[in-house]
Amino acid sequence: MSVLDKSIVELGAALAGGEVTSRELTEAALQRIADARTLNCFVTVCGEQALAQADAADARIRNGGGGPLTGIPLAHKDLFCTDGVKTSCGSRMLDNFIAPYDATVVARLKQAGCVMVGKTNMDEFAMGSSNENSYYGPVSNPWDVGKVPGGSSGGSAAAVAARLVPVATGTDTGGSIRQPAALCGITGLKPTYGRVSRYGMVAFASSLDQAGPLAKSAHECALLLGAMAGHDALDSTSLDLAVPDYVSALHDDISGLKIGLPREYFGGGLDSDVAAAVHAAVDVLVGLGAQVKEITLPRQDLSIPAYYVVAPAECSSNLSRFDGVRYGYRCANPVDLEDLYKRSRGEGFGAEVKRRIMVGTYVLSAGYYDAYYLKAQKMRQLICEDFQQAFAEVDVIAGPTSPSVAFARGERTDDPISMYLSDIYTNAANLAGLPGISVPCGFVNRLPVGLQIIGNHFTEQRILNVAHRYQLASDWHDARPPAAEAP
């Protein structure tokens, strides 16, 4: 057991009580990151800068100016712009990009006193469910290094699971926080769309992207979300709503809570052992006084088709900014402007990014817009209505995060569709803008299973509360993967 096994709640208390310093924690994290380099969780490690931030945090704590997160080491997904530090987004396109400013999430956590130890590996431009699409190579799952960690926030999830850092940030456009959290056996929260500022996040699909925390427990996620969330004038889609105290509601009694189990989340395609683990977790919640009701989300199976129109369409538009002119990769010796555009983009982007840009370009092109894009937007409306009908009857929706446990590296890389289906239970929450959390709820073949809890808009308090009560009654989230042991 290392100091990094402790939760940030315990670490915060130890820091405030002078039992440990931020420098000690930061040095421990940097050592673990160096020891576990073969997991490939990090694109950039910020050793010197982290130690300077740690010393500043220690001084702040000594002077009585610290808060609950002051001195806590953390890692940011390499999709958040970090002032003066490379922000690659997992792409050759941004391999040489030094962000000239901090994303709002980064700035807020810096202000809270968190120490950034590095930037984590990810699927290129957050497009992927296995972390195999990174320019910097795949990330290994700490539970079995031959398996994928999930994606796109695979580096963040694996780093937390392997006890390299106590907590990390991620982003979720179609499941990119929840699915890797599930596959790595940790807790990950995707907030309501508009809850956390997207300013300084490299945009993938702007109507779906949302940043959130990855940690061992819901309690830690609640602490981090409190620091990340809130209105930001720099993001016109961030909503001007008060940020509740997510920690204070964690312990609320859940007796009488109505949990909806969507029939569609337990159908064909779901691994039966995963289903059993999820049902067992629901039984634990019933034991705490919750009531279960079977519900239906009839258009659920169309969330993947709708998502694979909306997300590529927005991606093709967002990624048009990468043109080899103002920043990012430029091809050698362009003969003319068109050659510069085409080769810079052709050489700078990987295969999956190119596929999605082309799908997006196609569905937005003249003659196809109505048949694909408009149709998908209508489907999105119907998927959203299904959720609202469900939330008229239940408080939260529960089900599996992913249809299977972590799969083998290379298993799905030749088949985009089978990769897309990894997110069959997570895409819909993004289309509807709903918050969702994945919590560890068991193992199948010694690989973690995730329970997903979805809430209505701006009910992060409620899903964190349910997740926390579950974690008080279970210990799956405390399980340590083999890679967490000293090398």
Partner: protein, 95 residues
Amino acid sequence: MELGPEDVAYIAHLARLQIDEQDVPLYARNLSEILRLVETMNAVDTDGVVPMAHPVDTAQPLRADEVTEADRREEFQRNAPAVADGLYLVPKVIE
């Protein structure tokens, strides 16, 4: 929709993406598969459904039209592949 090699070449051109000739058949196959998946939506009647562009139904906030950004051109241009005199350089466009 089944896309052939010419379709892929045309879409890649629209997206300003260079695709290696040898990769075109695989892209054609993958994109066709993705479109077939997407087209399962067509089984649902969506007549009269209001398209949903965004998950949050609020008006865009307005602000006074004032300069709020400092001029940081030099800093920003440090990330550029080629600049001169504060301008971004590209291959000659006009003969």
